[in-house]
Amino acid sequence: MECERIEKLLSEYIDDLLDLQTKTFVESHLQSCAQCSKSLEELKNIVQELRKLEPVPPPADFTANVHKRLAERSWAMQLFKSMFVPIKIKLPLQFAAAAIVAIIVITLSYKIKPDVEVTTRTPEVMQKERQQEQPFMDKSAPEPEKQDRLSAVASKEEQAEKKQNSRIIEMTLMLKQDIRDFALAERRKGTAMEKAETEESTDVQPLPAPSSLKRKEAKSLIQKNKAIQPRTKKQALKEQGSEDAVAQIKTLATRFGGTVVDIEFYSEPTDKPKTITVKIPSSGYENFLEGLKRTGRLQPIVEVPAQANLMITVRIHLLTSLAPELPYDPG
């Protein structure tokens, strides 16, 4: 058994790799074991013979052959590159692909238009937040999305007016009845243990939607609301109220030298007025504004001096509790 162990250590003993204790153990065994001593001698001879093996030189043309092979490889690589798409063609292809993708994205983004204008849906609570961000809604030019909603003729007129001392003012008008409805909704929201809502409460809208809501979600929710909320007598009355507001604005405009240019309606769910565009000279603007204030809550109130001699285009966004419902996202 000890000889087997010693035999395994002989190789390291020859290379002088054993620690002192093991080396002493091996040497003491070798002194007493002739067989292991003979094995050691044989192994030493083997190692010596291996070290004495003459190196076999490569052929004389070895370096030339390496060059030849490198040249062949280089040629093969060039052939491979030319067979498949080289960089010269590949790069334009990539650019072409990127351009096609960009065109598709732009085309799709222009074709998909929102059914509901989210900015006109923002009632009082969110309106305050918006006002902090945009202190003045009075703009020198209408927003692109809203511009799409106007007729082509109206757009041309506006462009022409811009050149001749004209001004466009945008404002929101919340009718008095709707202000009461929102207050009622807020109170109900604060009541913890309230019973199930009655039919009458269905027209009370929950908290308004933020303007960042995605339009697709808005559309689906509108359809859902349309399906689950039957039109009640009160709703009908309110629609009547909205139409009355339109009539009042028309009367006011006519009284102070202006005209109603355009009325835009919600397509869903109530077909009620959404935006009224009125053209009025600056001389009658102040009185017109006072009349609007009596109709409901007006924001923002933009003052224009009567002496300005301007033709003012006022776009009034009507906010009512019957407007298409959008969910409130607390995030």
């Binding site: 390291e12 013979e49 070290r51 070895f62």
Partner: protein
Amino acid sequence: MSKILDDENMEDQQTRNGEELIRAFQSGETSAFDTLVTMYKDTVFHMCFRMLGDYQEADDTAQEVFVKVYTNIKRFRFESAFSTWLYRITVNTCKNKLTSSEFRHRDKMVRLNNPLQDSKSFMEIEDKSRSPHAALEEKERSVIIHKAIQELPEEQKIVVVLRDIHGLAYEEIASITGLKSGTVKSRLSRARLALRQQLKGVI
């Protein structure tokens, strides 16, 4: 032992020169590669020959080694000695060759068709490397030892060639093969014992 140390010193010198040549090649001096080939072709070829056992295969494989060196030399990061990197490529290329079905099939065919042809071709090879000072007896003995090495399992053969024929240190062998130092020692021990068994009565 002194021979090994001398060889190691020589290798160190070659390594230093090799690294300088690589830097020169990497900076665009293409002639530096020729110098590298000239400097290392004998060692690489001999290593291939002892591992593969066939002159033509060794020639082909050694050329392949230098083609690989040329292809990958720009990626050499000087994390190890150039010689270690070169011998690692050599060992791996030889291992691939040894395990290739083409090589195995050819080896078997030679042995079955004419067992003596193998040694005859070896003698012809020996004629090419004939040293005027070498005796015929030594040549025959070297043929027998060479054949005995070829009988070893692949992993033992590699260790024996690197240590006992080329005189590399255990640590360098471990670095080249990716083995632990203890594994190198045990494989070398088994290889030497196997050779002693095969060469009994000859040496």
